[in-house]
Each structure stands twice: as C-alpha cells, then as structure tokens.
C-alpha cells in the first residue's frame, strides 16, 4: 500500500533486478518461444542501460531446482557504452549453462512432478533482496532499486510463507516489485507483491510485442512514475485459502496459537496439535 519515494537517491538512476522464469515445463508449451522471449528481454536490458549511464541491471534466473545470478551490468567492461552484441552473447551463454545445469538437477531429483512444477521464485526474490541490501550499504548516493519479475509458470503454494516474507521485507526497504506475466494464468502471489510494495502488475495481451510492453511500462524510473499513468490492477484478492482443502474461503476459523486457517470448526488444530 505504501509507494516508494526518494530518500537520498539520485533521482533517475535505477538499479533493476530482473527475475526471469526459466521453467522448462512452462517454456516447452508456451506460445512465445524462449529464444524470442530472451531476445525481447535483452533489448529491454540494453535500453535500460542506455537510459542513463549510471543505471545498473542484474538478471537472476529462477529455475525448477535452483536459482542463479546470470548477468550483472556492474561486471561488464567499465569502459565505453554497453555493446548490445556483447551483452547478448554473455547473458545467453550464462542462461544456457544455467538451464542445462538446472535440467540435470531436476532429472536427478525424483520428486519433481512433470508438468506442474513451479519455479523457485521465493529463492530468486531472496537473492534479489540480499543484492539490493548490498547496494544500500554502498554509500549515500546509490541508485533507486526495484525488482521486475517475469513469470510464466503457476505459483507454488509451498512457497507462500517465503514469498510473503520477501514481500514484507521489500515493503520495509521500500523496494517496489513489478510483475509482468508471460504465461496464461494470473499469479496471486505477484498480484499481492505488486499491490503491497507499490509496484506495477501487468499481463500483456500480445506476447509477440513484449518488448513494447516492457519499454512502455517498466522502463521508467521510480521518480518519473509519479507523472505517468501506469496500468492499475483493480481488485487484488486477499482472501486466504484453507489449509485442509486449499480452496479460497470468505470466512474461516483461525487457530490462535499457530494461525492456521480452516474452513470448518475442528476440536483439534491439525498443524500445532492444540486442543480447544
């Protein structure tokens, strides 16, 4: 609910941490091929770096079994303006290596169900926030940080607590979380994240024009957002899901010890074992 405002920031210098969903189960059946999507992303990263010579971009890939840093513009050659081809080549190589390693880890781990597995967004968000804390420690004039999530795969309900912890930490540090959904379903986690931290949530209708959406909506720095009309989400569904059936409920029973939510009255709380 609170939106970011400038503290001791340089006005229009931004640090954008992009979290990319590289879930092979999703990209195998997606309307837009991963190579095209990656092309759109790299053009967007380059345009961010061209907007201001002090801008920084960090890309983190969220896979099915692991997460890793894939690109950091601070590590690139400090001399001269960023070279589009070099950025593309370096990032592509790292993403390829990451996806291969992730696939090896997934194949080796027998518990991942084929088809429905979610990406490890909670891990990627936590890494992004740790990196942003490092930037905060670097001095008084630092860029304004924000996080952009590009998600396609469905939410993993087992990550709920970790994702909410990351959202509250981002809210405290005043880091907005923007979301761009490249899949078919809306993501309840990212809707809540963008609403609570003051970011923008967007589900583009034409994925072939993804770069246009990214450049028009997500490229502007936080100071300029006050003067722009950005997409507003009308209703974020804050209802809880019951722990027994996982369906969203309007009214439920909450255990006073462990805060588990149930749809029907039970004599004993199944999470903490306390009797009423």
């Amino acid at each position: 609910m609170t939106s970011a405002h400038s503290k001791l920031y340089s006005d229009d210098v931004s640090l954008v941490v992009v979290i990319v969903d590289t879930n092979p189960f999703f990209w195998a059946g997606a309307a837009l091929p991963f190579a095209d999507f990656f092309g759109h992303l790299i053009h967007f990263v380059n345009s961010l770096l061209l907007l201001n010579h002090l801008n920084q971009v960090v890309v983190i890939a969220a896979g099915v079994s692991s997460c890793a840093y894939v690109f950091d513009s601070g590590n690139a050659a400090a001399s001269g303006s960023p070279d589009v081809a070099a950025t593309f080549a370096k990032a592509s190589r790292k993403v390829e290596e990451f996806v291969k390693q992730d696939a090896r880890d997934t194949a080796g781990n027998g518990t991942v169900a084929g088809g429905g597995a979610a990406s490890l967004f909670s891990g990627a968000l936590s890494l992004a926030l740790c990196y942003i804390q490092r930037v905060f420690r670097s001095g008084t004039r630092h860029p304004q940080p924000r996080i952009l999530c590009l998600q396609g795969s469905p939410d993993g309900p087992e990550q709920y607590v970790a994702v909410m912890n990351s959202i509250f930490s981002a809210q405290r540090s005043m880091v907005p979380i923007d979301s761009c959904i490249v899949g078919t379903q809306d993501s309840a986690f990212l809707q809540q994240a963008s609403y609570i931290t003051g970011g923008v949530y967007l589900k583009p209708q034409e994925l072939s024009g993804l770069f246009q959406y990214l450049a028009a909506v997500f490229a502007s720095d936080l100071h300029s957002r006050a003067f722009l009309r950005l997409p507003k989400t009308l209703g974020v569904d804050f209802r809880a899901s019951c722990f027994c059936h996982k369906k969203t409920i309007d009214m439920g029973y909450v255990c006073s010890v462990c805060l588990s939510i149930f749809c029907k009255y039970h004599k004993k709380c199944s999470t903490c074992g306390f009797c009423c």
Partner: protein
C-alpha cells in the same frame, strides 16, 4: 534535567515509534493507552487495533503532575483486560519515571491479582531501580529494565515489539472465526459503517457475513462483530513460526575449492587484509554468506536464500 526537551516529550515520541513497530510485527493485536497523574489513573485511548487513533492521542498535549500510583493503574488495567477472551495474550508495559508509588491499599494484593489473571507486566524505568517494580515484573513474568539515556530508552522500548515466547500451558488454543472480505464492485455506492460517510464499493471491503462496507482492515465488523482480516496480516506473523536456523561461523580452509563469493549478494568473501576470512554458512543448505547478509536474513528477510533456491530432496 536529562531528557531533552522534557521527559514527557521524549517518552511520547518513543512511544509513537514503538506503536508503529508493534503493529508492524503484530498486525492482529490491540493496544490501549493509560496515564497515571495526581495519583489517579486515566484511560487515554480505548483498546483498539488501529495505530492512528493511539498516535493521535500521544501527539496531543500530555501534561505531568502529582504522585504516581502503581496500584490504581494496575487495578484499572486489570478491569479492562479481564474482558479480553482467553486466547488473547495480555500484557502491560509501564513507562515509569517516579521513584515511589503512593497507593490507597496494599499493592502486593494487586500484584497477586495480576499474576492470577495471567497479565504479563513489564516496566521500563527512567530514573532508578525500584523494588516494587522489580517484584511486579518477577511475579508476572515480565521484564524490568532501566534506561541510561534517550537512545537506550528507545532501544529498550523497541525490544518489547516482537512477541514474547508463550508458555505452552498458558496458551489457550481456540479456533477463532474470522472473515476475509473482498473489495466491493466499482459501481456499488454505500455508506461505510465506521465513518458513516458515502463510499464507493471499490474503496472499502464487504463483510462476508452481514455485507456492510468497512474502510480498512484489520477491524471488527460493527454490525455483526466478526473479526475481519486479510491474509497478509496473518502472513506477517508466520516468520515467528518458521524461523531461519542460526548460521555457523566458518573460515576458508587452504586449498578449498568452491564459491569465493557470498551466495546472497555476490560480494567477495576473501578479505585480502585479514588472515581469517571469517564468514557464515547455513547448516541446512551449506551455502556461504557474508556477515551483512546474515544480519539481514535473520532480522528482516526471515528466509535463507540458499534453502529457498533448492528444491527439497525429500519426497
């Protein structure tokens, strides 16, 4: 004398910071304010769940005069807290500057009464240590601290914001009925039940039981009495139930291969000046972190990035 501009001003300012931090850490809790003046205790604000009304009262003109009576204050608070249902944890935090207490009766009886009602009393003294305060805190299981200066006072006060661990025998478990309201439709115009003003449906929430419009959450529906919350309010307290394991301190062994960078922020862990290269490691996922990330993870984030970035290998 010591606290500038006056003790009352410093206490009011620190109390405001405490209330904001308290509601941040405990979104479903209620707070009320009571003052002790001229030997009598007054209720400054009702026990409520919204920080704004408490802070407004604190920012108003607060004057000090007369003696302070611990017994009168505790009797008043005991009367209020007795109305709270049993699943609620009852606590009193007294900010005490006097060096004595002038009571109409036996204050030890009041202390026994509070102990029987399971009210946990804590005191933060501004002057010196007083026996009766120490006795009160020891009997009821609270903490007694005395502030040395302004910044120490604020630190001691903010230490009371996170919830204390509950003793298993005293924690009465209840399944409390709560509602999770949704926002109304854009074109629905109705009168909100809290301010009696005309509001569009999209600006307020609709109680799922009686369908009235309420402005903000968490709150209790004025019409049917149902507690209304949203899932982030409950989620804010989940990190107390699933804390991050403390990290072990390690140092690099000679010839050790592997990550030279902190897993969280990618900063180099090799310090060329110092010999030891001391850093930390998570015992569950074995990833290495720097000390700054360690502090951030345990105090603010409550997630270990290494554990979250691994698919768990148990079926």
């Amino acid at each position: 004398m010591d606290y500038r501009p006056s003790r009352m001003a410093v206490v009011a300012k620190c109390a405001e910071a405490f209330i904001r931090e308290f509601f941040d850490q405990n979104p479903l809790s209620h707070v009320g304010l009571v003052t002790i003046k001229d030997g009598i205790s007054h209720r400054l604000t009702d026990i409520g769940g919204s920080p704004e009304s408490q802070i407004k009262a604190l920012m108003g003109k607060l004057e000090c005069s007369g003696d302070s009576s611990l017994q009168n204050a505790l009797e008043l608070i005991h009367g209020y807290l007795n109305q709270i249902p049993s699943y609620g944890h009852k606590e009193v935090l007294i900010l005490y500057s006097a060096l004595n207490t002038c009571d109409p009766g036996d204050v030890m009886e009041t202390v026994e009464k509070c102990k029987k009602s399971k009210i946990r009393c804590s005191v933060i003294g501004l002057a010196a240590e007083i026996f009766i305060c120490k006795h009160l805190c020891e009997e009821t299981g609270g903490s007694y601290t005395v502030a040395l200066d302004e910044s120490h006072f604020k630190e001691l006060l903010l230490e009371h914001a996170p919830p204390p661990p509950a003793i298993a025998e005293y924690a009465a478990a209840n399944l409390i009925k709560m509602g999770f309201p949704q926002r109304g439709a854009e074109d629905l115009i109705s009168i909100c039940s809290c301010h009696k003003k005309i509001k569009s449906g999209a600006e307020g929430y609709i109680c799922p039981r009686c369908k009235v419009n309420v402005c903000e959450l968490p709150t209790e529906c004025r019409t049917c009495g149902l507690t209304l919350v949203s899932s982030p309010h409950l989620a804010r307290s989940y990190h107390h139930l699933f804390p991050v394991a403390p990290f072990d301190e390690v140092t690099f062994k000679l010839g050790q291969k592997g990550g030279q960078n902190c897993y969280g922020c990618q900063q180099s862990l090799i310090n060329s000046d110092s010999q030891s290269n001391l850093h930390v490691r998570c015992p569950k996922c074995n990833q290495h972190f720097c000390f700054d990330c360690d502090i951030y993870i345990h105090e603010s984030l409550h997630n270990c990035p290494g554990c979250e970035s691994q698919r768990s290998f148990s079926s």
